[in-house]
């Protein structure tokens, strides 16, 4: 399992890698500068009778070089906002659309700002006492910072889309967009994120409550407000299942249904993931994508990554079959490896074209075996997304199969 902690204010990012396995060599940088947890007094507790019941796609240095995806000068400035907004970073991501166009494409999804309420004071249960509605094969979004692991069930986030939380001392937001099937994490500093009610390319548009800048989740660039044109700082979120996550992280805690809001948890308004049905399985999109491509079914899950080199997508089914998939982005070699324990993939910028081969549960690189999350290459943040949504935002994406 990897968590990325940017520690330098300027002059390049330095990242810390956590290795889930104990018998794999550790690579990466080992210092960090935790952010201050925020305090949130807006506790809304359910009471009553009965119980219902990725950083800048900059990547790990792997010991050398500049973070992939950072701006051309290599800077990855982590800028804390003095006006209550989230920290932003200088990044150079693949830009397919000008900001004006993104604003033009912003559509009212129905609810107004905070009409879909974020969870601002999340409550957690230990792994051996999970919510009764959570089945082992249900999808959860896993996050691990500084030894603290947390799971956020999809069935809860479908009603809230954003959890403002503190994990391992980091003030973060774990975000999920049901319509694009994307779970992403962002550092939030002293700010909180909310759901704006707007959608672009069917994708959640967030806003920060400090500056009211609007941030499309998948991009994630400010499109209006004080931070227009700036990028949020991301961290990796793992889309897996509850059984897989608690097997990998027995000490994990899991988000409960005590969210402070009355919602029909256990019932998904769009369909089901276990087994997959409804919107998550059909060929319909609720809103027209910015660009379309029929190489894959619209809801096919791809692992997408993007940086200054460009954008890439790996079909998850293909990754499961082959374990290692290589390709190029802007002429630079990349490799994506499969983690069978968590049913997820990790993307690496492999500028030197170092050979990567499966070796048991790990991968053989330069004669040593590494766990899939800790290859000695430049780690990129990748996340699951529905194909139509990924292509809609990144029509120049290169597909690795």
């Amino acid at each position: 399992m990897v968590a990325y902690f940017p520690i330098s204010a300027a002059g390049g990012g330095v990242w810390r890698t956590h290795n889930r396995g104990t018998d794999m060599p550790m690579r990466g940088c080992l210092s960090s500068m935790p952010r201050s947890p925020t305090t949130d007094g807006r506790r809304r507790v359910l009471g009553g009778i009965g119980a219902v019941g990725l950083t800048a796609l900059a990547g790990c240095l792997g010991g050398a070089g500049l973070p992939a995806g950072s701006s051309d000068d290599g800077a990855d400035d982590d800028t804390a906002d003095e006006n209550g907004g989230p920290p932003t970073v200088d990044r150079s991501l693949s830009k397919e659309y000008p900001i004006d166009r993104l604003n033009e494409e912003s559509m009212d999804g129905g609810p107004g700002p905070d009409g879909i309420p974020s969870i601002d004071d999340p409550a957690f249960a230990p792994a051996d006492d999970p919510p009764t509605n959570l089945d082992g094969d249900d999808p959860v979004f896993g996050v691990e910072f500084d030894g603290e692991a947390k799971a956020y069930p999809q069935y809860t986030l479908v009603w809230h889309e954003i959890v403002n939380d503190v994990v391992g001392g980091e003030s973060v937001a774990v975000t999920y967009c049901p319509l694009t099937g994307t779970a992403q994490g962002f550092y939030r500093g002293e700010s909180e994120f909310g759901v704006s009610g707007q959608l672009i390319n069917s994708n959640l548009v967030m806003f920060d409550r400090g500056t009211e800048t609007r941030w499309p989740q998948m991009l994630p660039v400010g499109i209006s407000g004080r931070h227009t044109g700036e990028y949020l700082e991301e961290f990796q979120v793992i889309w897996t299942t509850w059984d897989r996550w608690r097997e990998a992280y027995p000490e994990t805690t899991v988000l409960t249904e005590e969210t402070g809001h009355a919602r029909n948890y256990g019932s998904d308004p769009y369909g089901e993931y276990n087994p997959r049905s409804g919107y998550y399985a059909d060929q319909q999109t609720l809103f027209p994508p910015l660009s379309s491509d029929d190489r894959f079914p619209k809801k096919e899950v791809v692992i997408g990554a993007r940086n200054a080199d460009g954008a890439m997508a790996v079909p998850k089914d293909t990754l499961r079959d082959r374990a290692v998939i290589e390709g190029t982005v802007g002429g630079i070699p990349y490799v994506t490896v499969y983690d069978g324990a968590l049913d997820t993939g990790y993307v690496y910028r492999n500028a030197d074209g170092t050979p990567v081969e499966p070796n048991g549960d790990g991968f053989l690189v330069n004669g040593d075996t590494y766990s899939p999350d800790a290859l000695p290459l430049e780690s990129e943040i990748g996340f699951d997304a529905m194909w139509f949504a990924w292509y809609g935002y990144y029509p120049s994406t290169e597909v690795h199969e």
Binding site: A51, G112, A262
Partner: protein, 201 residues
């Protein structure tokens, strides 16, 4: 002048007729039954459509109330939907108790119920020849319009229609349009009822 046309051109008269027709509706057992059944049926459908009512046999009976419920009654979750402040589980059915949705749904359901009851009376006690079941269906369209708005784009999902900016803008107007049409329908149908002494109880 045709009496019906004259009635339409005299709003006060038509309002009085509508009031009288509503009184007639509540005086007759059969029309009250129609009103009640339609109102309750529409309200339940409305609550199911907005997601406040569902079958949840997997949940034990109990009640959950959110913190500071009164302060959240008017929080909106959509253009015409409101925050639930409690969860009521019966062991079979789950109700998300949202006073705003309940009041709004109840109002529209009542309008639909009275409309259909008046349509029923227009059939069994017409004031003029030529009144058929078509008038009874008049309330269906506005009822659907008023109900559809509550679910917003999710309705499009069910119907497999891709949303456009224009369509989403239209959604915001469907509720007031539906209520307006229900009121107009009420006044129209009221003019087709024989307001003399009831012929049956």
């Amino acid at each position: 002048m045709d009496t019906r046309l004259a009635g339409m051109l005299r709003p006060r008269s038509r309002i009085a007729e509508t009031g009288a027709a509503m009184r007639l509706v509540i005086r007759r057992y059969d029309s009250v039954t129609v009103t009640g059944v339609v109102t309750v049926g529409y309200l339940l459908t409305f609550l199911w459509a907005v997601g406040d009512l569902s079958i949840r046999a997997d949940m034990p009976a109990g009640v959950l109330i959110v913190d500071e419920p009164l302060g959240r009654v008017l929080d909106r979750t959509g253009p015409a939907t409101f925050e639930a402040i409690a969860i009521v589980d019966t062991g079979v059915v789950r109700l998300l108790f949202s006073p705003g949705n309940l009041l709004l749904g109840g109002f529209v359901a009542g309008l639909v119920g009275i409309n259909l009851a008046m349509s029923y009376l227009a059939i069994v006690q017409p004031s003029a020849c030529g009144i058929g079941t078509g008038s009874g269906l008049l309330a269906s369209l506005p009822a659907l319009l008023a109900g559809t708005v509550c679910c917003g784009p999710v309705v499009l999902l069910v119907l497999g229609i891709q949303a456009s900016g224009l369509l989403l803008t239209m959604f915001a107007w469907l509720l007031p349009l539906g209520i307006g049409l229900l009121l107009a329908s009420l006044m129209y149908v009221a003019g087709r009822i024989d307001l003399s002494e009831p012929t049956q109880q």
